[in-house]
């Protein structure tokens, strides 16, 4: 029908302001470094460089903005971009899997939103409109949805504006109390690392030498070692715990505030975020596997996280969408029902790997320690403290062995592993892409084999793996599971 669609719409002008403001911190932080490299020039010259840089980047953004346009046809979306070499991209509505919206803090202030058009191919930024007004984003989504609904079922009820759909009953939602509770379990000391990094960077500019941690240690050595320093150590520990808890709550609040998962006609839709507000749709047909994880502490309180592994769509090779950030087992079941996956069976239904796996961990970790401890002891006076790790060789492999297992029910494979962060992967056999059996020298000597399952959208670095199965069982599973 529509042969030529005019690309006559532009991005929201606030895009320019957002780009400029986003760049600002880079420039401000870059100034001391620039001054250092340039050497002995006045503050004026440095500021001049900064101003030129800002104008340059703003000019580029302006040029890009003026050469970027898009248009919406009857059946397709057209995007024209490129400053020198022009590119006209046509995305047929039939190929669009879904439309995600993302609003960062600045975007929310300006009332605009990034629109991501997701198609089947796994390329990066297939169709990204950064940014359009919120109303325009809703219009785009509705036009595309309506077309798809009509194409699918003829007499589909016209989807209403975004607000109306958000009122669909939630599959899972977190109120503020739940978010705060989740934050307490997300104890994190990442804040300290940030302070440390900032210290590296700014340390030379801070004149107060008392802030240097090395001096504190020196003072500690000189000063009396008694009840006072013990109290000080306890106080420091308390402060660390407090910082960790506050950091955890703050991060969780920023990420999971207003968490809400609903069902749409083609997938699951998730809204969350306090500052950066995201609105993501996970198309059902792209879901490959589900992962239920928990923590060493929260497990005892019955809290879990559900993530869905889906075919890469955000440009990264693996995508895990959190579908329920902090949920009871009873809340996870209904979500899994929607995507036709069963809940995992109880721990005793899982078949364990070979007990000889414990010896493999001990021999491999023992060999590492046998080298590392003498070296550390030689170069560092406290290096011999690493000897304290040796008893762990007896305990940790047992815990890992007990946490690891696999089973199969009704064409669905379950694999559980992990001590500190126990996880259960739920994978339908039909989603297995390939299977590899791997045996290194030690495993061959012990009669063990690891089975690695290739899944789409999984992590390349840590694929789904059943470690140290008995050789014969591993061969049986290899053949069995590859039969679809």
């Amino acid at each position: 029908m529509s042969e030529t669609v005019a690309a006559d719409l532009r991005l929201h002008p606030a895009t320019l302001a957002i780009r400029a403001l986003e760049r600002l911190p880079e420039f401000v932080l870059g100034l001391p470094a620039a001054a250092y490299f340039i050497g002995d020039v006045g503050i004026g010259a440095v500021l001049a460089i900064a101003v030129v840089g800002l104008i340059g980047s703003f000019g580029y953004a302006l040029l890009y903005w003026s050469r970027f346009s898009y248009g919406l046809g009857e059946q397709q979306l057209v995007i024209e971009s490129g400053i020198l070499s022009r590119n006209r991209r046509t995305i047929p509505f039939d190929r669009i899997q879904d439309v995600s919206l993302e609003q960062k803090l600045l975007a929310r202030i300006f009332g605009v939103s990034i629109v991501r058009i997701e198609t089947g191919s796994s390329g990066n930024d297939e169709g990204k409109l950064d940014c359009v007004s919120r109303a325009e984003a809703d219009r785009l989504r509705d036009v595309i949805r309506r077309y798809r609904a009509e194409a699918a079922g003829g007499a589909a009820q016209p989807p209403e504006a975004g607000e109306a759909r958000a009122e669909a009953p939630a599959l899972f939602a977190m109120n503020i109390g739940r978010v705060l509770l989740a934050g307490l379990f997300n104890f994190s000391l990442v804040f300290l690392a940030i302070i440390g990094a900032a210290w590296q960077y700014l340390g030379n500019y801070v004149p107060v030498r008392y802030l240097d941690p090395e001096l504190w240690i020196e003072d500690e050595r000189v000063g009396p070692i008694g009840s006072l320093s013990l109290a000080a150590a306890l106080a420091l520990l308390l402060v660390l715990v407090l910082i960790g808890m506050i950091t955890g709550v703050a991060r969780t609040l920023a990420r999971d505030y207003g968490f809400r998962l609903t069902r749409t006609e083609s997938g699951l839709r998730r809204l969350r975020g306090l500052f950066t507000h995201t609105d993501v749709v996970i198309p059902l047909r792209r879901i490959q596997a589900a992962i239920i994880s928990t923590g060493i502490v929260r497990r005892h309180f019955g809290w879990h996280e559900l993530a869905l592994q889906s075919l890469g769509s955000d440009g990264s090779d693996g995508t895990h969408h959190v579908a329920a950030a902090f949920a009871r087992a009873g809340e996870i079941g209904p979500i899994l029902d929607e995507i036709d996956l069963p809940l995992p069976p109880g721990a005793d239904a899982f078949e364990r790997v070979s007990p000889r796996s414990m010896w493999r961990s001990r021999i491999e970790a023992g060999a590492v320690l046998a080298v590392a401890i003498p070296v550390a002891g030689y170069i560092w006076p406290f290096g011999w403290l690493l000897l304290a790790l040796v008893p762990l060789l007896a305990i940790v492999p047992v815990l890992q062995f007990r946490a690891h297992g696999h089973c199969e029910q009704g064409g669905v494979i379950f694999v559980r592993h992990g001590v500190r962060r126990p996880k259960i992967v739920i994978l339908p056999r039909a989603k297995i892409q390939s299977l590899t059996l791997r045996r290194n020298l030690l495993q061959r000597a012990l009669g063990l084999a690891s089975l690695i399952v290739g899944t789409a959208g999984g992590s390349r670095a840590s694929p789904l793996k059943i470690d140290d199965l008995d050789n014969d069982i591993a061969h049986r599973l290899l053949v069995d599971w590859s039969n679809g």
Partner: protein, 163 residues
């Protein structure tokens, strides 16, 4: 111990030409490191007065093993088997790997030949899957005609599976 209690299935060996491909590749790969070692040995004798011969001898010994001894053993560990609905590929001298790719999971197939492979009449078959692990599974050292036959077999299965 259990070491060679291995394949319960009979694997097809690669084309003998592949053994020579592997040898030539090992010869080429080792050329520069060996030459550098000998040169370093020479310079070290000139400048520091170390005795000539130890480093060079070691380098040449390693080169000989890597180019003459190992390729043959690695070659023998390679094998494949075309099953009803899947291909099984085994390889690895120290770390043994056995991979099964169901035909229905193959996204696309490459048959490629480099200059050395052309000289010995073999080709490499590469299977692409949608998995992020094993996104490409490689089977080198097939006679060129065999590679094409295998490709056609797998392709016909793909067509049957997705109407």
């Amino acid at each position: 111990m259990d070491d060679d209690s291995e394949p319960q299935v009979a694997l097809t060996a690669l084309d003998p030409g592949q053994k020579w491909v592997m040898r030539v590749r090992a010869l080429l790969t080792g050329l520069v490191p060996t030459a550098v070692s000998i040169a370093a040995d020479f310079v070290s004798e000139e400048q520091l007065g170390t005795p000539f011969g130890y480093l060079s001898g070691l380098a040449i010994a390693l080169y000989t093993v890597a180019a003459m001894g190992l390729p043959g053993r690695r070659f023998r560990r390679w094998g494949y088997q075309m099953g009803e609905g899947a291909i099984r590929i085994a390889c690895g001298l120290w770390v043994r790997r056995e991979t099964i790719v169901p035909f229905a999971r193959v996204q696309h197939i490459d048959v490629s030949r480099g200059p050395i492979e052309r000289a010995f009449g073999v080709a490499t078959l590469t299977l692409h899957t949608a998995g992020s692990y094993n996104s490409t599974v490689v089977l080198p050292g097939l006679a060129y005609d065999d590679a094409n036959i295998i490709r056609e077999t797998i392709r016909s299965h793909i067509r049957e599976d997705s109407p």
